[in-house]
């Protein structure tokens, strides 16, 4: 079991760290174990991709890291603006507030609120806080960089798929979360738009120093990341640094053949979503 934290990247701080995570769904014969004593650390200010065959536990890992789901055992620590926060011992409400302040999301389906304008969608996490304000200068900067200045007052159905995804990216960035999780962000887009979104994530890391963790099936997408974590059977198989798409495809093939019960796992994966 290797970690992402190899000597070549040594001085980098860890944005989110997981220790010995275990998660089991069901019991007996029907039991599925998407996470099996998994430990990993994601470096801060980097773009990390998580890949793995269906049922390898990548979705569960992301849910658990983002505080959306709670592991059966194990420890997660998130480096926030106010120092590292351990998830264990946090109740549901505290986790919610932690998500609001320190975690950003980019979803496969754009998941904008149809009733709100682009601008309202972007500032949504901040406005949930009631009193908390947004950094207007940073908001302008992000909006400008994402080319949304002209679209701020449009409603989601008046935007193209690419524009909607850019709104979603802007929403994830403006609150300057500790980590942005992207779940198959290119899954619903054509190739050109997909490439554009990956470019935006790259920009977020390079220009805004954002930590981004992306779960993807797509080797080409993962090739844009600084490093790629390969999962299989709820464990980390390998961590690759700046791999080419070909390397990744090969690694995936290897991981796929190693996967224990893809069919069952798929069913559970579907059931969860």
């Amino acid at each position: 079991m290797r970690t992402a934290n190899t000597p070549s990247e040594a001085p980098t701080a860890i944005a989110v760290r997981a220790e010995a995570l275990t998660k089991t769904y069901g019991s007996g014969d029907a039991a599925v174990r998407p996470l099996q004593n998994l430990s990993i650390g994601f470096p801060s200010g980097r773009f990390t991709a998580v890949m793995g065959p269906s049922g390898s536990g990548k979705s569960t890992l992301m849910h658990v890291l983002a505080g959306l789901d709670i592991p059966d055992s194990g420890e997660i620590t998130l480096a926030t603006g106010r120092g590292p926060v351990s998830f264990s011992g946090l109740n549901e409400k505290q986790l919610t507030l932690l998500r609001r302040s320190s975690v950003g999301f980019i979803f496969q389906a754009y998941n904008l609120i149809p009733a709100m304008t682009a601008e309202e969608n972007i500032v949504l996490p901040a406005s949930l806080g009631g009193g908390s304000t947004i950094d207007t200068a940073f908001f302008r900067q992000v909006v400008e960089r994402l080319g949304l200045s002209e679209r701020l007052h449009h409603r989601p159905f008046e935007l193209s798929g690419g524009q909607q995804q850019r709104v979603a990216v802007a929403r994830a960035l403006v609150s300057r979360p500790s980590v942005v999780f992207a779940d198959e962000p290119t899954g619903n887009l054509d190739q050109a738009t997909g490439a554009e979104v990956l470019d935006l994530l790259r920009t977020a890391v390079d220009e805004f120093g954002q930590t981004v963790i992306m779960v993807t099936h797509d080797a080409a997408a993962a090739a844009q990341a600084d490093s790629t974590v390969l999962l299989a059977d709820g464990r980390v198989m390998e961590t690759l640094h700046r791999p080419s798409a070909e390397q990744l495809a090969a690694a995936m093939l290897h991981a796929g053949s190693a996967a224990a019960a893809p069919v069952t796992a798929r069913a559970i994966d579907g059931g969860m979503s």
């Binding site: 979705s59 389906a109 754009y110 998941n111 904008l112 609120i113 996490p125 989601p156 159905f157 899954g187």
Partner: protein
């Protein structure tokens, strides 16, 4: 069902969602069925009452006509047997007659429990068995058996005595002679007694010095013929012939006009009874029928009230059911499309939806019939306990079952037709289409809106017009048309207002996002928001119209009463002891002593010409504090100030006013004559006996009089919320120390208030069904909107919205819809209440001012908000429990 796989799929996939529509069906069917069953009970109660009264008699001959007739020989010394007794004797000699007894009754007046008591007492009929509930039959003179219901109303029990006054008309002197007697209650009779309320022995009745009016002649047949309809009819004919011949022979009195051609004609009336010389002869069954026909009016009113409110409940239910089906169809569109794609025809989908409605309607109908029956049984039971012991138990009739089931099925099927058509139009392509962000349509239905505005403007204008013209029919029509207009405009108006309110709420920092989202959601599904709110609006409008209307009517009545009787109550004397009682009584708001002086009252208007009484000086400041209007001493016609005099001093027929000279006791030397004042005095019910109340302005020679507190009286201002009970209690408390107590004006007001309040309570209870249905509708709408917004909720949760805020979003939506229904409903209710009362009170000189019972309206608002919040509880909980991870991936 096996034949329709689509229906099977539907029931399996969305069966649970049908509960709200089902509940709406059940509630409205329950209401209608219980109304029908209760009306049946009411009718049977009437029948039983008539039956009880006619029990034991084969023929009942109305002898009331003899009361006013001169004896045929012209001699009426009142001692010999009356014509009814002579007839009884003749009838009893007919073949087969076991007994014929002439019943008469007397009119008695008395007092019990502080109330004036009026009582018709009759002789104990031998042909009727009377069920003794308590005590025993009257055996001696001075004993009376009272109907139990009557005795309870006057708080009389076995062994109690009651003083009664009697009147007898003396034909020789052409005067009415008054007398009094004391009767002891020997027992209480159960059952129904509709002709008289008390029974004395024939001797006891005869001993009362009062006019005895013949009432009826009860005839019983002997042996097997007793109770045989055919024998009754034969005897009826014989008796009619007997009466005809007796009239012809001059043995019975009759209107000369009828006997002109010798024997009077025997007429057969439509109900089969015979009429001869003004005397009606009914058989047992005919008397029952006649009585029921006489009271059929009550039953008709009950039927129309019951069915009127039933119709409202059914209409609200159909809105809710139709809404449920619309959304069911929408939520199933993917399944439907899939079915279409694999080969289901549009007709199959349509039929399945209609069949689903029919099935639901049938089940709801069955449950509603059972619940309605149970409810009616409960109410009938309560009525037996609390109101009328003889109230008939609820019996489920074929009519009630048929009406309930038909209604359930019909309403549900009709409500399902529109959604069914929509289901049929589902395109198979929808199954293949990915989930997209739906655009919200801002299409305005122009026809609907314009029609709505026209209806609303015309109808509400009609209400205003009706208020000015005092035309209730125009008002009622206007209200219905105007309200329909508002409902039509609802789809444009309601979502806009809900969304506006949502934005207002969003100004609060804690509710910024939930407020906005709730507001936006109202706009996103305008139809559903509008229909849900409409259902609620109907209930709120009706309830607030009734509440404010009652208050407005009550106030205008109260003003009217204040004008007529400015002083609520008075006591004949004043003392410290009384004052203390008044000070402590919560019923009394204010009290003032008015000093008095012994005086001689002389007037042509006074029966005796001169009376030793007293004069009370009414100081302006004291009267101002007590009186409800400024016209205490204003006589209606003269305009100038007048004195007030006790009404019993004035001669009958001199009611308007009289010139009275008031002279203080004393001698010429003491200046008594010089102090005499002559004033115009008008009667006022609150002035104690032998008293004149003199306003300060008329007391020119006041300095010569010595008004003292020893001859003072007390005037009272009574709390407006005082009930009859409070007043009776007050009367009892002060009676010992205050002498004469007059609570007339306060009693009047309390009794009006009581009547209006009772009617209001009944109406509100009847409206409860439709309000309940509309609340179910709110819950239903929210449940479905929750279903549609699971993804949105998951997203919000992932982004850090707390569970509480997600739930608040749903609750807020319910509260916003309730708020719109309340604002619109209260506004319309105020207009309808004002217009209704104004158009009903046909007086131009009274400007009707709307009175708003703030406490009751506040309660209506509170209860509606509470109900909306409760209705949103389960949906809000369901949505707030959405796992945040559910929003992360598509589908």
């Amino acid at each position: 069902m096996r034949g329709n796989p689509v229906l099977r799929t539907n029931l399996r996939s969305g069966g649970k969602r049908l509960w709200a529509a089902g509940a709406a069906v059940v509630i409205s069917v329950t209401f209608v069925v219980s109304a029908l069953v209760l009306i049946g009970s009411f009718n049977r109660t009437m029948e039983a009452q008539a039956e009880a009264d006619a029990a034991g008699a084969d023929l009942v001959i109305g002898t009331g006509a003899f009361a006013w007739a001169e004896a045929p020989d012209g001699s009426d010394d009142g001692s010999g047997p009356g014509p009814d007794q002579e007839l009884a004797e003749a009838v009893s000699e007919l073949e087969g007659v076991a007994e014929a007894e002439a019943l008469s009754h007397v009119f008695l007046e008395g007092e019990a429990a502080g109330m004036n008591l009026m009582l018709l007492a009759g002789s104990l009929p031998e042909t009727r068995t009377i069920d003794i509930a308590e005590g025993s039959m009257p055996e001696q003179e001075g004993e009376i058996l009272l109907a139990k219901e009557f005795a309870e109303a006057y708080d009389l029990g076995v062994g109690d005595t009651m003083p009664v006054n009697t009147e007898r008309y003396n034909a020789e002197t052409d005067t009415v002679e008054q007398d009094s007697a004391e009767l002891t209650v020997s027992g209480l009779a159960g059952g129904t007694h509709r002709s008289v309320s008390g029974y004395l022995t024939p001797e006891g009745l005869g001993a009362l010095d009062a006019d005895h009016s013949p009432s009826s002649l009860r005839v019983a047949l002997a042996g097997d013929a007793h109770g045989d309809p055919q024998a009754q009819e034969e005897l009826q004919q014989q008796v009619a012939e007997l009466i005809a011949s007796m009239v012809e022979r001059g043995e019975l009195p009759a209107d000369p006009a009828e006997t002109e051609g010798g024997a009077p004609e025997i007429l057969t009336q439509p109900d089969g009874s015979l009429l001869v010389a003004g005397v009606e002869i009914h058989t047992h069954q005919q008397i029952i029928d006649a009585w029921i026909a006489e009271h059929a009016g009550q039953s008709t009113v009950l039927v129309s009230i019951g069915l009127g409110f039933g119709a409202i409940a059914v209409f609200v239910a159909s809105l809710v059911i139709s809404n449920t089906f619309q959304v069911l169809v929408a939520s199933r569109s993917r399944t439907m499309a899939l079915l279409r794609a694999v080969g289901a025809t549009a007709g199959q989908l349509r039929r399945a939806t209609v069949a689903e409605g029919a099935l639901l309607g049938l089940l709801g109908g069955v449950l509603g019939v059972l619940l309605g029956w149970s409810a009616a049984s409960g109410i009938a039971f309560a009525a037996q306990r609390l109101w009328q012991e003889s109230f008939a138990s609820a019996e489920l009739s074929v009519l009630a079952i048929a009406a309930g089931l038909t209604l359930g099925v019909l309403v549900t099927v009709l409500a399902a037709v529109m959604p069914a058509l929509k289901a049929g139009r589902t395109s198979p392509m929808e199954a293949l289409r990915p989930v997209e962000v739906a655009s919200d349509q801002r299409r305005i239905a122009w026809v609907r809106t314009v029609l709505g505005i026209l209806f609303a403007a015309g109808g509400l204008g009609g209400v205003l017009l009706a208020a000015v013209l005092h035309a209730p029919m125009i008002g009622a029509t206007g209200a219905v048309v105007g309200f329909s207009g508002v409902l039509l405009m609802g789809r444009v108006l309601v979502p806009a207002v809900v969304s506006f309110l949502g934005r207002l709420v969003a100004a609060l920092p804690q509710l910024r996002v939930p407020g906005r989202l709730a507001a936006q959601n109202a706009r996103a599904v305008p139809r559903r928001t509008a229909v849900t709110t409409s259902a609620l609006l109907i209930g709120v409008t009706l309830v607030s119209t009734m509440t404010m209307g009652a208050m407005t009517a009550q106030h205008s009545l109260s003003d009217e009463l204040a004008e007529r009787n400015p002083v609520d109550a008075s006591l004949g004397t004043a003392s410290e002891q009384t004052e203390q009682v008044l000070e402590e009584s919560p019923t009394v708001v204010g009290h003032q002593q008015l000093p008095g002086a012994e005086a001689t009252l002389d007037s042509e208007g006074i029966e005796a010409g001169s009376v030793e009484g007293r004069v009370i000086l009414a100081e302006e400041s004291a009267i101002e504090e007590i009186a409800r209007s400024e016209s205490v001493f204003q006589e209606e016609h003269s305009g100038g100030p007048v004195a007030l005099i006790s009404p019993d001093l004035l001669e009958a027929g001199m009611a308007e006013s009289a010139e009275v000279t008031l002279t203080p006791h004393g001698t010429a030397e003491s200046g008594a004559l010089g102090a005499a004042i002559t004033v115009t005095a008008a009667p006022a019910s609150w002035v104690p006996a032998d008293t004149v109340v003199l306003p300060e302005v008329l007391a020119d020679t006041a300095e010569l009089w010595s008004f003292e507190s020893s001859a003072a009286m007390t005037v009272l201002r009574i709390s407006e919320s005082a009930s009859m009970g409070d007043l009776t209690r007050l009367g009892n408390e002060v009676e010992a120390s205050a002498g004469e107590v007059s609570l007339d004006a306060a009693m009047d007001r309390a009794s009006y208030t009581q009547v209006i309040d009772t009617v209001l309570v009944v109406v509100l209870v009847l409206l409860a069904a439709s309000v309940l249905v509309s609340v179910v509708g709110v819950s239903n709408t929210l449940a479905l909107s929750v279903f549609e917004r699971r993804r949105e909720a998951a997203l919000l949760r992932a982004m850090g919205m707390t569970r509480g805020s997600v739930g608040a979003m749903v609750t807020l939506e319910a509260l916003l819809m309730a708020a719109v229904a309340l604002v619109l409903g209260s506004g319309l209710g105020a207009l309808f209440a004002w217009g209704g009362v104004s158009s009903l009170v046909a007086r131009d000189d009274v400007t009707m001012v709307l009175s708003i019972p703030w406490d009751r309206m506040g309660m209506i608002w509170g209860v509606t908000f509470l109900a909306a919040a409760l209705a949103s509880f389960l949906p809000a909980r369901a949505l707030s429990r959405t796992p945040p991870a559910a929003g992360l991936s598509a589908q």
